[in-house]
């Protein structure tokens, strides 16, 4: 069972589209998704869970498991430690694990990235999108030509 660690952001498409791109372009289809969020009780957070569920079902995952992980969004250490704990847990259970550093505020993204450097997950995804013409649309409605799912673990991250 594949695991993805990601974040909620102002636009849900940063989270959704990066997940979708990793599945389509990198063949990493998560069945278990941990979404770091400043508040798991908001309508926005619950809606994101539903939307990730729709995307994963379109990608062929019948019963995706999506967890909201409440964090203080500017607490670097807490986010890093929680992400590292989830990476280690997945590795202990012999599950493929990826961290997505596309969505989120900068401190939280850096915390996830730092956790990835320490924990060495199987993949560290980042979605590169050229231009701003297709904002606020789900991945299938944005040209694949301008969306590039990068796996930073293949770009020297593991060499340190």
């Amino acid at each position: 069972m594949t695991v993805l660690i990601t974040q909620e952001y102002a636009s849900e498409f940063a989270t959704l589209n990066s997940l979708w791109a990793a599945a389509r372009q990198r063949r990493f289809v998560p069945k278990d998704v941990h979404v770091f969020t400043p508040d798991a009780t908001t309508d926005r957070a619950r809606r994101l869970v539903d939307q990730i569920g729709v995307a994963l079902q379109a990608l062929g995952v019948e019963k995706p498991v999506i967890h909201l992980v409440p964090v203080k969004i500017d607490d670097f250490a807490a986010i890093r430690n929680e992400a590292l704990r989830l990476i280690k847990k997945a590795q202990m259970e012999a599950r493929k694990v990826a961290v997505d550093v596309t969505p989120g505020r900068t401190v939280a993204k850096l915390a996830l990235f730092d956790a990835a450097r320490s924990g060495r997950p199987d993949h560290v995804f980042y979605l590169d999108v050229a231009g701003y013409d297709y904002r606020d649309l789900p991945y299938p409605l944005v040209p694949a030509r301008i969306q590039r799912a990068r796996d930073l673990s293949e770009e020297g991250l593991a060499d340190d």
Binding site: E12, L16, R24, Q25, D43, R44, R47, D50, Q51, V54, A55, Q57, A58, D133, L137, P138, P140, L141, V142, P143, A144, R145
Partner: protein, 360 residues
């Protein structure tokens, strides 16, 4: 066959499904057995665009003798207009026209000018989606905001009149005997002729820009049966409107004769010269423009096929509503396969995600 109804912007999902499999989009007109163009979603480039000469030759081969049906067969002007309305081509004098509009907009915004300035549209400008897609300046904001807008009731009557005709049983029989893949012409029964399909596009343009600009209507005498008389009546309706509102008025038209009728009616006009291309241009086209082109082509031609995908795109179908037209929707019939199934699934998921967004 499975069918789905998709908006032109959702067509990007089909290009993406092709992109992921390193396949190309190949668009054909089945009734002339003619490939119209290819598109590579990985490079974003059109290749193998059909020429005017090749389209004319195919048209001659497959056109039925009955004049009404002969007129209805897709011609180069339909293809050119679809390229123009989609933004694949620009008017031949685009830059000059843009400069004129800029000057008029500056004049309209000048506080010392006591008269409001109206932009008015000829029927051909609506067919080419000029007000809602093709104006060289931003229609709703910036300097274009200093214009006001008016549409003649004569233009609307002309569009309305064109929508009346539908294919009869006898028409379908004649077409089936002459067209390539004629057996499938039975699909056309009860659907609109080309003039009607294109007129609906024109109506969509009126609806779209009227909604955003609160365009006024200029009353017009009842139309006659011949085009030249009607052009004069439309020009006169704009002339009467201008005088009644003590306004400046600029009529946008791509018909050279209309500019003379306008002059006779005391109305200024801007002649937008039709592009002179004789083949679909090769090279980069962004996905939105391509999706609009495919939509407008399917409307003008009635149907296009996607080679290798066992899919037909219909620009007109029996249950098509004005809402479908306004949303630039096409009906897609297909026989399954990985690309079409991915496309259908992705469109459905995208709609569910966007719906969830609008609920909260």
């Amino acid at each position: 066959m499975t069918d789905l109804v998709v908006a032109s912007h959702e067509f990007v999902a089909l290009l993406n499904a092709l992109h992921d499999r390193r396949e190309r989009l190949v668009v054909r007109y089945p009734y002339f057995n003619l490939a119209l163009f290819e598109y590579d979603p990985r490079s974003g480039a059109i290749t193998h665009g059909v020429s005017e000469e090749a389209l004319d030759a195919a048209r001659e081969k497959y056109t039925p003798a009955k004049p009404k049906l002969a007129d209805d067969q897709p011609a180069w002007s339909d293809l050119r207009d679809a390229m123009l309305s989609a933004g694949l081509l620009r008017y031949a004098n685009h830059d000059e026209a843009a400069a004129t509009l800029e000057r008029e907009a500056a004049n309209a915004a000048n506080p010392s000018n006591p008269n409001p300035t109206f932009l008015a549209f000829d029927t051909n400008a609506l067919y080419n989606r000029l007000p809602d897609r093709g104006l060289p300046l931003d229609l709703l904001t910036g300097r274009m905001g200093s214009f006001r807008y008016v549409v003649s009731e004569g233009v609307l009557a002309e569009l309305d009149r064109a929508i009346a005709d539908k294919y009869s049983e006898a028409d379908v029989t004649s077409l089936a005997a002459k067209l390539h893949e004629g057996r499938s012409a039975s699909w056309l029964r009860g659907r609109s002729f080309k003039k009607g399909r294109r007129a609906k596009l024109g109506y969509d343009a009126v609806e779209a820009f009227t909604k955003h600009t609160r365009a006024m209507r200029a009353s017009c005498e009842p139309l006659a049966t011949d085009k030249e008389t009607n052009d004069r009546l439309i020009a006169q309706s704009y002339g009467a409107f201008r005088r009644a509102h003590h306004a400046d008025l600029l009529l946008l038209t791509s018909d050279g004769d209309m500019t003379r009728h306008a002059q006779a009616a005391g109305v200024k006009s801007l002649h937008l010269q039709l592009p002179r291309e004789t083949a679909i241009p090769q090279g980069f086209v962004d996905e939105r423009t391509l999706a609009r082109f495919v939509h407008d082509l399917a409307v003008a031609f009635g149907v296009v096929h996607l080679s290798g995908l066992n899919a037909r795109l219909w620009g007109d179908w029996s249950a098509k509503t004005p809402a479908h037209g306004a949303a630039e929707m096409l009906r897609v019939d297909h026989g399954g396969g990985p690309v079409m199934e991915t496309f259908a699934r992705d469109v459905e998921a995208s709609r569910a995600i966007l719906r969830a967004r609008s609920v909260v």
